[in-house]
Symmetry: none
C-alpha cells in the first residue's frame, strides 16, 4: 500500500508489452495465418525481435500462449451457457459463439488443428474439460427437443467450424460484411440442427 507506484512501473510496462505482443500476434495470425513471421509481429508490436524472444522463446510458445488465452475465454463461454435458464435460446447462443470463435480465430485454430500443440498437457486438459461441459449442454438441448439426437459435442464443434468457414468464403466473395459474416449461414445450420421429423 505504501509502496510507490513508480517502483512497480517497469514491471507494469513489461507486462503491458507482453499483452501487446499477444494482441498483435493474435491479430497478425488472424489476418495472415500462422506463417506470419515473428519479425513481422515484432515490427507491428513496435518491439525488437529480442523482446519477442524474451517473452516467447519460440514461435510455438507464442502460438501456445494465444491458444491458451482463447481456450480460457472459451471455457468461460461454456460455463455461462450452462448457467442460462432457457435451454433452447442458450444452445443457439452458444452455437453462435462457437461459430464466431472459429470465424475470428481461425489462424490460431490452424495450429490446434494441425496438431502443433497436441503434446501439450495443459491444453489437452482444457480441451477435455471443454468437451465434457459442452456435452452437458448438448444433452440438455437434446432432452429439450431443440437438437437432433445424432450429434455429440465434437460434432457441434465441427459444424461450427464449418459455418465459420462458409462465412469466410462469403466474405471472400464479397457476399457479406466481415463484421457479421458469421451470421449469414447460422440460420441454415440451425435449421439443419433441429430434430428431424
Amino acid at each position: 500500500m505504501t509502496e510507490p507506484a513508480a517502483a512497480r512501473r517497469p514491471r507494469a510496462d513489461a507486462a503491458r508489452n507482453r499483452e501487446r505482443i499477444l494482441e498483435v500476434a493474435n491479430e497478425a495470425f488472424r489476418e495472415g495465418g500462422l506463417e506470419v513471421s515473428v519479425a513481422e509481429i515484432a515490427r507491428r508490436a513496435g518491439v525488437g525481435s529480442g523482446t519477442l524472444f524474451r517473452n516467447f522463446p519460440t514461435k510455438t510458445d507464442l502460438i501456445h500462449a494465444i491458444v491458451e488465452m482463447h481456450m480460457n475465454q472459451w471455457l468461460d463461454v461454456i460455463e455461462k451457457s450452462l448457467a442460462a435458464e432457457e435451454v433452447g435460446p442458450a444452445f443457439e447462443a452458444f452455437f453462435e459463439r462457437a461459430v464466431l470463435f472459429n470465424y475470428l480465430d481461425r489462424g490460431m485454430l490452424e495450429a490446434v488443428k494441425g496438431g502443433m500443440l497436441n503434446d501439450d498437457a495443459d491444453l489437452n486438459a482444457c480441451k477435455c474439460e471443454a468437451l465434457a461441459s459442452t456435452a452437458k449442454l448438448i444433452e440438455r438441448a437434446q432432452a429439450a427437443g431443440v437438437l437432433r439426437q445424432d450429434l455429440n459435442a465434437d460434432d457441434i464443434y465441427a459444424l461450427a467450424a464449418g459455418v465459420a468457414e462458409s462465412a469466410h468464403a462469403a466474405v471472400r466473395e464479397g457476399l457479406a460484411d466481415p463484421k457479421d459474416a458469421h451470421m449469414r449461414y447460422m440460420g441454415v445450420m440451425l435449421a439443419g440442427l433441429r430434430p428431424v421429423g
Copy 2:
C-alpha cells in the same frame, strides 16, 4: 505427316512431362498443403527442378495450372448436373460433389481463397461461367421447392466449403473415416437447405 518421328517424340515427352508434373503436384499439395517445396515435387515427378521451372516459371504458375485443371473438371460436373432430369436428386448430387471437391482439394482452394490468383483473367472467366451455370441449377431447385429461396450460387459454394471443413474437423478428431468423412454432415446441411416451414 512427313515430319520424322524423332522430331515429334521430344514434344510428346514434353507434354507427358507437363501432365505428370501436374498430377504429382496436385497429389503433393493435397497431402502436404501448398508449402510442399518445388524440389520435392520435381523429385516425385522424376524430373529436374529446371524442367519444372521451364513448364511453370514460378510456384504460383504451377498452382494456377492445377486450379485451372480443377476448374475445368468442375465445369463438366455442373454441365452434367444441368443435364439431369430429376431436379431434386440432381441438386443433392451436385451439392455432394461440391462438398467432395472442397474436401479433397482444399490445398488448392487455399490458394484461391488466399487471393493468390485473384488477378488472373482466365480463372475469373471460368469462375463466372461456373457461377452462371450453377445459378440455373439453383433456380431450378428452388422452383421445384427442394431448396430455400434465400440462397444463391455463391452461398451454395460457401456452404459446401463449410461442410467440407466440418468433415476435416471430424477426421482430425477421429470421428470419421477420411475416405467418406464428407458424408458425415451432408444430412445436417441438406436438412438446413430445405425450404423453411
Copy 3:
C-alpha cells in the same frame, strides 16, 4: 568412351566445388576454431551459403566430412608405420606424425574431443580400427625396448596431443616458427617415453 567430356563437366565442377569447400573449411577451422561461421566459409570458398548447404546440410555434416577425411589419412599413416622394418625409428616417425596431426588440425579435433560426433557409427569404427592398429605398433616398440611399458595406444595419442599443445603455446609466445613448432618439444617427450631405468 564416346561420351563427350563436355557432358560430364558440370558434375566435375560440382565435385571440385565440394572439394574446395572442404579445403577452405578445413583451413578456416584450423585458423579460427569451430566457431567460424558457415557464411564466412562460404565467402572464402567463393560460393553462396545455399551451395554450402546443398553439399553439407548442417554445419555438423561439414565438420563430419572433414574429420572423416583426416581419419582416413590417419589410417594410412598407421598402416605405413606398421609396414616399416626398423621398429625404433618407425615408432618415432609415427609419433611425430601423430603430433603433427594434432598440431595442424586441432580445430577439427576439438569437434571430436567435444563429443560432437560421438554418435557417428562410421567414425567410431574408424577410431576403433585406428586404436587397434596403433596398439600393435606400440607393442612392437615396447618389445623392442624403445618405449616404456606403462603406456597404451590411448596414452600415446594423449601425449601426442599434449606435445602439439605445447607447440601451439610456443608459437603463441613467439618461441618457434609455426612451420616446425611441433618439433620443438618432440625431443623432450621422446626422452620421457624411453623405458625407465
Copy 4:
C-alpha cells in the same frame, strides 16, 4: 568512523557482489568454456545482468578480471617456490602446480591463448614478472642438475600446458579420473625433463 553504517553497507555489498561474480564466472567458464552466456553467469551469481555490466562493461572485461586474479595467484605460487630450500623437489612441485593450473583453468587460458587480452598492459606486466621469477627457478634447477639445459621459462610453461592437454585427453577417453588426471603423465614429462646423457 563517524560515517553512518547505512552509508557504508552498500559499498561492502557491492564489493562482495564483484567477488561473487568473479567466483561464479570462473566456475562457469571452467565448466562450460568461454561461450557461457553472461546472462547465465548473472543468474548463477544471483544478480541482474545490469549489475554484472556495471562491474564488467564487456564480457572481455570479466574474462580479463578472472585472468588477472589467476595471474596474481600464480605469482604467489612462484614466490613460494623460490623460497623453498631443496631445488629438485621445489622444481617438481612447481611444475606440478603449473600443470594443474593449466588443467583446471583451461577455459580462461583459452582467452589468453586466443590473443583476446594481448593488448592489455597490466596483464603483460604480470606476465613479464612471472616469467622473470620463473627464469630464476629454472636456472637454479638447471644449476642443480635436475633439469635439461636447453629449456627456458617459456618452454616450461608450454610443456606444462601440454601435459594438462594430455590429461584432458585421458579424461575424455575415460583413461583417468578427472580429479587427478593431471598426474597421469607427469612422470613421463618429468623423465623427459631430466638432463640428457
